[in-house]
Amino acid sequence: METSKVIHAIYNDDDVLMAAVKSVKAKRHHIEEIYTPFPVHGLDKAMGLAPTRIAIAAFMYGCVGLAVATLMMNFIMIEDWPQNIGGKPSFSYLENMPAFVPIMFELTVFFAAHLMVITFYLRSRMWPFKKAENPDPRTTDDHFLMEIAVHGNEKELHDLLSETGAVEINVVDNTH
């Protein structure tokens, strides 16, 4: 926490929120965080957040899954206990590859999906038994909360936010 004082503006409509984000950004204020009950399309771009890198991570996880499947099936079906697959006892991974494609596919998807979710949670600082960070429980229901750091410009921010259609504006001191 770099600042001790933050301002919480609460909205009850995602379109109003989007417009508010744009006007706040236009006045060059830094938005600390926004809490929403559901993903708002385009919010990340409006806030000027860096594009997500989770796709790159997912690709790499998929490659790991593919490699794990290949090594695993090679060990199980070819090396450790050679199997006669489909009446073609070639005992070669490459020649029996079509039989392993479904497993290679499934593990690719499995690794990509699960590791991507885990990465996402960790990156969002969410882990089991963690205390919820959202400042207002209404953001899990039907309200949107924008958090802006105050640097001695409380009045100016207050005016700006009430102009943008905030239904509630609170100044919160975090130094307690």
Binding site: G86, A99, V101
Partner: protein, 463 residues
């Protein structure tokens, strides 16, 4: 915005057609070799030991016979000692001679089918846009209407070549069109084909083909008519009409497309069948259709004729190219793996001939149709870069041409295949015809539907 076909494009199309026709004619004339000529050619080949590239790969196999379907069964064991026997020799020379006669027919047919398939895929995609009431696509619906203009002539040509091969020609594509195959008294009698003669007969084939084409063309005719009427209407009545006929068309299409693929493609190997063949052909058809939609959209946009088409539309088309490529691979593999795994002789012979005699096109096509689009189009940003989409699209179209090639050629020309003058000339001819018809159709109506109820959404479409 109105579009006028440029003289250069029209000239290109006409030159393509003329050059193509010359090449096709050359193919037909030179393929007409007599028994003696083929015999000398084969003798020369076996003396020099190599012949064409493929032959070297599998030993003494200028004498390998089984590729062509009308004796697919006879030969597994025959070729080892066969060539001392005079009878066996005559049979083999005859066989090669027939394969050479079949080649220009098959090359012409493959190219005709390939371009017909683009138009049919685009038509199905067009109907889907209406049925799903898509908001992103109305800006490119007119482009699709242009492409589907090729369907009627294109499909009639395919059917005409198929029927002609069994009437004017010497059963050059579909061996089951030979009446001897279902005549128990004949030496060519084939019990399996005789058992299928209720479906596989030339009359049935022609009538079914006409019904398919009539159904598709009627949909295309009326959807186009209502689409143009909607431009000048004051309400959405025409749009609703297209919605209704599109839903009906999709039902008709899914049945007829499947039957069409059995008739027009699968029956070249009349002993072999695959239950998901229709789906497999459908997937290839959709990829090609969408790729060509993307191409023509990019072309018109580059001329400044589609100013409202933005990155996001291209992105969506590229996403469909990517997705249907994966879908195609999924179906290709589902078909391949079950047959490979169960290893039943009468089924697996289909892939054995392809892997033995068509190794490069068979595996090359997999790389072009799966690995290439997978890696090129996976990244979200690349789908917005026009030259990237075009590059991926060229590979996809090439790959699907080879896919059709692999479906037809092993049954008709066997190991005598080559991509030479007949194949390339046929492609050029149909490419010219396709460009000519499609771009002429594009001039007939404004390039964007003006009163489609979703046109505003499409203009503001933003991903």
């Amino acid at each position: 915005m109105e579009y006028k076909i440029s003289n250069r494009l029209r000239l290109t199309a006409i030159i393509l057609m003329v050059v193509g026709l010359l090449g096709v004619g050359y193919g037909f004339i030179t393929s007409n070799k007599s028994f003696a000529e083929v015999e000398t050619m084969l003798a020369n080949e076996s003396h020099h030991g190599s012949g064409h590239g493929e032959a070297a790969a599998h030993g003494e196999e200028t004498h390998q016979v089984e590729a062509v379907s009308h004796d697919a069964h006879a030969s597994e064991s025959a070729h080892g000692e066969g060539h001392e026997v005079v009878d066996e020799h005559t049979k083999h020379v005859n066989h090669v001679m027939h394969a050479m006669h079949n080649r220009p027919w098959s090359a012409f047919y493959v190219a005709a089918f390939f371009f017909m398939m683009i138009a049919l895929g685009a038509l199905a995609f067009y109907a889907l846009q209406y049925v799903s009431q898509s908001g992103w696509s109305p800006l490119v619906l007119r482009v699709m209407e242009g492409i589907t203009a090729y369907l009627l002539p294109g499909a009639l040509i395919v059917l005409a070549i198929a029927v002609a091969s069994g009437t004017i020609g010497h059963y050059n594509i579909f061996v089951w069109m030979n009446p001897d195959m279902v005549d128990p008294a004949s030496a060519d009698f084939d019990k399996l084909v005789a058992g299928k003669k209720g479906w596989l007969n030339t009359w049935g084939f022609a009538i079914r083909g006409l019904i398919f084409i009539a159904g598709w063309s009627l949909y295309r005719h009326f959807s186009r008519k209502f689409s143009i009427a909607q431009d000048k209407a004051n309400d959405n009545k025409n749009f609703k009409k297209i919605f209704r006929i599109s839903a009906g068309f999709l039902v008709f299409f899914l049945y007829t497309e499947s039957m069409m693929s059995w008739d027009w493609i699968m029956s070249v190997d009349p002993h072999w069948f695959s239950t998901l063949f229709g789906w497999y052909v459908l997937a290839g058809m959709m990829v090609c259709g969408i790729t060509v939609i993307a191409f023509i959209t990019l072309y018109l946009k580059s001329k400044g004729l589609l100013p409202n088409v933005n990155d996001s539309h291209i992105h969506d088309l590229a996403k469909f190219m990517f997705a249907f490529s994966i879908f195609w691979t999924y179906l290709w593999f589902s078909q391949f793996m079950l047959i490979w795994y169960s290893n039943i002789p009468e089924e697996v012979t289909y892939f054995v001939t392809r892997i033995e005699d068509y190794k490069l096109p068979f595996f090359g096509m997999l790389a072009m149709n799966f690995i290439f689009p997978l890696l090129l189009l996976m990244n979200s940003d690349y789908k917005r870069v026009p030259w990237f989409v075009v590059m991926a699209g060229v590979v996809i179209l090439g790959g699907h041409y080879i896919d059709i090639f692999n479906m037809i050629m092993p049954a008709t020309v066997g190991d005598q295949w080559y991509i030479g003058i007949p194949e390339i000339a046929s492609l050029l001819f149909f490419a010219g015809l396709f460009i000519f018809i499609v771009f002429t159709a594009l001039t007939k109506a404004p390039l964007v539907q003006t009163r489609n109820p979703f046109i505003k959404e499409s203009e503001h479409f933003h991903y």
